[in-house]
C-alpha cells in the first residue's frame, strides 16, 4: 500500500515536471499545463501524508532530540 502511495506522490511531481517540459517543447498549451500542475499538486498532497508522516516522526530531522530545532529557519 505504501509503495502505491509513493508511486502516486511521485507521479504527481512527474506530471508537473513532464507537462512543463511539454510546454517548453511547444506540445502543450500553458492553460493545460496549469491544470496538470494543479492535478499533480493534488496527487502529492493527497498521498504524501500517508507515507512521509511516519518517516518524519521516526527521525524528525537532525534535531530529533531537540524539539525547537525540528525546522531550521534560514533567510534564504
Amino acid at each position: 500500500m505504501k509503495t502505491l502511495l509513493k508511486i502516486a506522490s511521485f507521479s504527481g511531481l512527474a506530471l508537473m515536471l513532464g507537462s512543463a517540459i511539454a510546454v517548453f517543447y511547444g506540445v502543450m498549451t500553458t492553460h493545460v499545463y496549469y491544470i496538470m500542475a494543479a492535478v499533480g499538486t493534488g496527487l502529492w498532497f493527497a498521498s504524501v501524508p500517508f507515507w512521509m508522516r511516519h518517516r518524519l516522526h521516526k527521525h524528525s530531522g537532525a534535531g530529533a532530540a531537540s524539539p525547537p530545532e525540528t525546522k531550521r529557519v534560514t533567510p534564504g
Binding site: 511531481l13 524528525s60 531550521r72 533567510p75
Partner: protein, 492 residues
C-alpha cells in the same frame, strides 16, 4: 570575583528554555548521511527564494556573473559548513547557544538570543509579505509596486489575516507544522523547476541550445533597473556566501551538526545550497524576466505554474513564517517575565504584520540578509578561535565558564569591534552621517578601500579573530589563574 551568573532570573529562564540542549549529544542519538542530505535539501527552499533570484535580474547581473558567482559563492558556503562549523560541532556536541554561553558568558548568550529573535521577526515579516502577494491574486487586490512606501488598506487587511493565521498556527502546533513543511519540500522544488522550464518559451527559448543566448539577452542582461546598483560576479558570489553566514561561519548550525556522526557530513549542506541557492534563485530569476520585470512573488509564480505556483508562494512563505514566529517567541520569552507563550507569540505576530506591510523590506531583502550575516559572524569567529587556537597559544578556551563570568568582555568587545569595522568600511561610502563625519580625514589607503556589504565576510572574520586573540591575551593576563576555580561542566 563575580558571583555565579545563574542567580539572574533572565539567565535562568534562558537556561531553562535550552535545558534539553545543554548536554552533549549521546552516541545513540547521532544521525547518518541520509538525514543530513534531506535536512539541508528540504530546508533551503523558502519564500525568500522568490525574492532573491529576481533581485539579481533587477540589479543587472550578467548570466555568467549569476551562474559563476552562485557556483563559487555557494562552494565557499559549503566549505565553511564542512571545514569551520561541522568539525567543532561534532567535537563539542553542544548547541551554539551553549557554546556562546561557555565562551562569552550567560549575558552574552541572552543578548545573542534576543537579537536573533529580532532578526527572525524581520524574516517572518518578509515571509508574510511574500504569502500575501499570492493570496491577493484571487481578490484582485494590487500588490504594492516599486517605490510604494505603504500598501493599500485592502492589502494590509490581507496581511493582517494571513499574519494572524500564521501566529495562531505557531501557537497551536509547532511540531505538526514542521512535519508539514518537510512534506512540502520536494513539491516546492518541483514547482520551482517546472515554473522556470514552462516560462522559458515566453522569453523566446524553446530549445536547450538557445538557453544561453536567451539568458544573456532577455534574463540577466547586464542592465540594472532604475534605482538598482549594478551587481557583478563578486556581488553574487559574496551574497551567496554571506546569505547563510550566520549558520556556517557564525556557527548557528552547530545545533544541527552536533548530531552528525562525522564532520564530513557538513558537506551535505551542498544539497541545500545548490538546490535552493543556485537552482531556485536561477528559476525565480527566469520567472521575473518572463513576467517582464515584475518581481512580486505571487504574480510571477502564478505566471509560471498557475494555481500550483500561487499555492507554492503561500506555503513557502507560511511554512517558514510560522516556525520563525515560534523561534522568535522562544527567544523573547526569556525577557518577558511571566508572559504566556501565546501572548508573546501574538505580540511578535503584531510586529511581524507591521513588517509585512513595509514593502521596503522585500525590496532590500538581500541587504537585510547581508546585515544579519555580518551581525552574527563575529561570535562564530570567536568560537572558532576559542576552540582551535587558544589551547595552542596558552589561552584558556571557554573562559567565561572557567572564570564564572557573566560576560567575557574580550568576546563582547570583539563582537562590537568587528561589527563597527564593517559598519565603518561600508558606511564611509554609503551612509551620509558617516561620510560627513570622516570627509577629508581618512588616510588615502583607507579612503581607497571601498568594499560592498557583500565583500565583508572575510575582512570582518579576520578582524574578529585578531581582536579576540588580542583582547583575550590582555583579559586573561589581568586575572591571576590561581584565583580561579573551574566551574562544573555543563553536562553535570
Amino acid at each position: 570575583m563575580n558571583p555565579p551568573p545563574t542567580s539572574s532570573s533572565i539567565v535562568s529562564r534562558l537556561d531553562a528554555l535550552y535545558e534539553y540542549d545543554r548536554e552533549p549529544v549521546k552516541p545513540q542519538d547521532l544521525h547518518g548521511w541520509k538525514v543530513f542530505w534531506s535536512t539541508y535539501a528540504g530546508e533551503n527552499i523558502a519564500g525568500t527564494e522568490f525574492v532573491l533570484g529576481p533581485l539579481f535580474v533587477m540589479h543587472g547581473a550578467t548570466a555568467s556573473a549569476v551562474f559563476g558567482g552562485l557556483a563559487f559563492g555557494n562552494l565557499l558556503a559549503v566549505l565553511s559548513w564542512a571545514l569551520i562549523c561541522a568539525p567543532i560541532a561534532v567535537r563539542t556536541r553542544v548547541t551554539v547557544y551553549w557554546q556562546i554561553r561557555r565562551m562569552g558568558g550567560p549575558w552574552l548568550a541572552v543578548i545573542y538570543s534576543s537579537l536573533v529573535a529580532v532578526f527572525l521577526c524581520l524574516l517572518a515579516g518578509s515571509m508574510v509579505g511574500i504569502s500575501v502577494t499570492a493570496v491577493s491574486l484571487p481578490f484582485h487586490i494590487p500588490n504594492p509596486g516599486p517605490g510604494v512606501p505603504i500598501p493599500s488598506l485592502a492589502w494590509m487587511g490581507l496581511a493582517l489575516g494571513v499574519g494572524s493565521i500564521i501566529a495562531v498556527l505557531a501557537v497551536l502546533g509547532f511540531e505538526g507544522m514542521a512535519i508539514f513543511s518537510k512534506m512540502c519540500a520536494p513539491w516546492m522544488v518541483t514547482v520551482f523547476f517546472a515554473a522556470a522550464i514552462a516560462s522559458l518559451p515566453r522569453l523566446g527559448c524553446s530549445s536547450i541550445a538557445s538557453f544561453w543566448h536567451v539568458a544573456n539577452e532577455r534574463i540577466w542582461t547586464g542592465h540594472a533597473a532604475p534605482g538598482y546598483t549594478p551587481y557583478t560576479f563578486w556581488h553574487i558570489a559574496g551574497f551567496a556566501w554571506l546569505c547563510n553566514v550566520t549558520y556556517h561561519i557564525g556557527m548557528a548550525d552547530m545545533t544541527i551538526l552536533r548530531y552528525a556522526k562525522k564532520w564530513q557530513m557538513g558537506f551535505t549542506s551542498s544539497a541545500g545550497m545548490y538546490l535552493g541557492h543556485f537552482c531556485a534563485w536561477i528559476a525565480s530569476g527566469i520567472l521575473c524576466a518572463a513576467a517582464v520585470g515584475d518581481k512580486t512573488p505571487g504574480p510571477i509564480a502564478y505566471l509560471g505554474a498557475g494555481f500550483a505556483g500561487a499555492l507554492c508562494v503561500v506555503i513557502a512563505g507560511w511554512n517558514v513564517a510560522s516556525p520563525t514566529l515560534y523561534r522568535a517567541g522562544l527567544g523573547l520569552q526569556v525577557i518577558t517575565a511571566g508572559w504566556k507563550r501565546w501572548r508573546v507569540t501574538f505580540l511578535i505576530g503584531a510586529v511581524v504584520i507591521i513588517f509585512a506591510c513595509t514593502p521596503a523590506i522585500l525590496v532590500n531583502l538581500d541587504r537585510i540578509v547581508g546585515y544579519n550575516g555580518l551581525f552574527f559572524l563575529p561570535l562564530g569567529a570567536c568560537i572558532f578561535i576559542d576552540y582551535w587556537i587558544f589551547p595552542k597559544i596558552g589561552l584558556r578556551p571557554c573562559y567565561a565558564e572557567f572564570a564564572r563570568l557573566p560576560v567575557n568582555w574580550p568576546a563582547a568587545f570583539t563582537w562590537a569591534g568587528a561589527l563597527l569595522f564593517s559598519l565603518f568600511a561600508y558606511g564611509k561610502d554609503h551612509y551620509p552621517f558617516i561620510q560627513n563625519l570622516v570627509a577629508g580625514r581618512l588616510p588615502a589607503w583607507i579612503d581607497g578601500y571601498r568594499p560592498d556589504l557583500f565583500y565583508l565576510v572575510l575582512p570582518e572574520w579576520m578582524v574578529a579573530i585578531s581582536l579576540y586573540i588580542v583582547f583575550s591575551l590582555v583579559g586573561q593576563k589581568w586575572v591571576r589563574r590561581s584565583d580561579l576555580q573551574p566551574s562544573p561542566s555543563p553536562a553535570q
